[in-house]
Symmetry: C2
Subunit: 200 residues, 2 copies
Amino acid sequence: MLDLAILGLLHESPMHGYELRKQLTTKLGAFRFAISYGSLYPTLRRLQADGWITEGAPPADMPASAEEVPLLTGKRGRVVYTITAEGKERFQELLSAAGPETYDSEAGFGVHFAFFARTDPATRLRILEGRRRRVEERREGMRDVLSRAAERLDTYTRELQRHGLEACEREVRWLEELIANERKGNTPQPPSAEGPERSS
Amino acid sequence: MLDLAILGLLHESPMHGYELRKQLTTKLGAFRFAISYGSLYPTLRRLQADGWITEGAPPADMPASAEEVPLLTGKRGRVVYTITAEGKERFQELLSAAGPETYDSEAGFGVHFAFFARTDPATRLRILEGRRRRVEERREGMRDVLSRAAERLDTYTRELQRHGLEACEREVRWLEELIANERKGNTPQPPSAEGPERSS
DNA sequence: CGTTCGATGTATCGGACCGATACATCGGGC
DNA sequence: GCCCGATGTATCGGTCCGATACATCGAACG
């Protein structure tokens, strides 16, 4: 899961750890995702041991990134990680492997979703529908609590449930829009201004 | 954090592990919280070693729960955990200790919030404002990404950010309602039907 | 000119927590 | 009589976090 995120970011451009972490928290952080160095560096070393990334700038057979690497590293920069060809294969493999862990955790879904542009349409749909089902289950659970046991809850607990339920309902609606868009054309969000959420 | 949750639930009524876990995921689960047995049982043993809970039914000086315990256990039930007097003190202590870890994690905030009915008003306000500040920071981060780097993101990543931003904005609004209510009267959510969120 | 300070950068350790798993018992359906 | 799903206790390996310790760089300030 962290593997996927790191490989995906390094696929776009080589980076060192610090920058990598920033991108992880900003680009993928929307859906609750913040990785600490205590996870990042061991993972980087493991990815390196498995041959999916290499330490040091691309070894001259990748001149395409010659314009970007210096921007990120200066020359004071320390360890720059670059994805290998095997790493790119591994990335695609992880992208398609959308098991239950993809839907269950916020972070897992967020990371997969962030790389949807490089995911094949069938997998995209599978992930979105799996996620929707998962959130619907959560929603039903909260509805049950609120309808069947509301009088046994104090005001704060009830308000907490109400807010959680509302968040679930919004997410389901969001997912349904995305699924509908996915089924129609491939274009997920046609350039119709920035206010399609005003429909409700 | 898990300590607080367990002590709070056992404060209401003695329970065994299985039931405890169900309550943890339903009552406190609204704000993302699901504990596994791999955390629950070691924590129970630690709480027991520290003298905050005891194994076995309440030792006869607590006849008040005589109606509830059999409902939960039958007589086939195994280990029933009961909070001690020291445990109740510890619970109050943890309730008031609202450090940054209270605002930072979803789970931490959710658990504290669920016990607001037993938290003093000053602490309630402190927690709500701390949480609001935290979510506002997240929100600003996402706004920056969307306004300053939107053209560098693909459609899916942008949509992910947009959805995350919207969720943050909703949560801030929710927190502000709660804070306003907290400042006015103590009654957090007066019985004005169930639709105060339609104001927007 | 030095020096202090915040941003950048690499790295590790203890511990919290998860996910899977193993087992055992109970009530009820077939 | 037998199996099966819900209830119930417990552990283990592994993932990830939070705190921390460093070291370097550019800029601000006296």
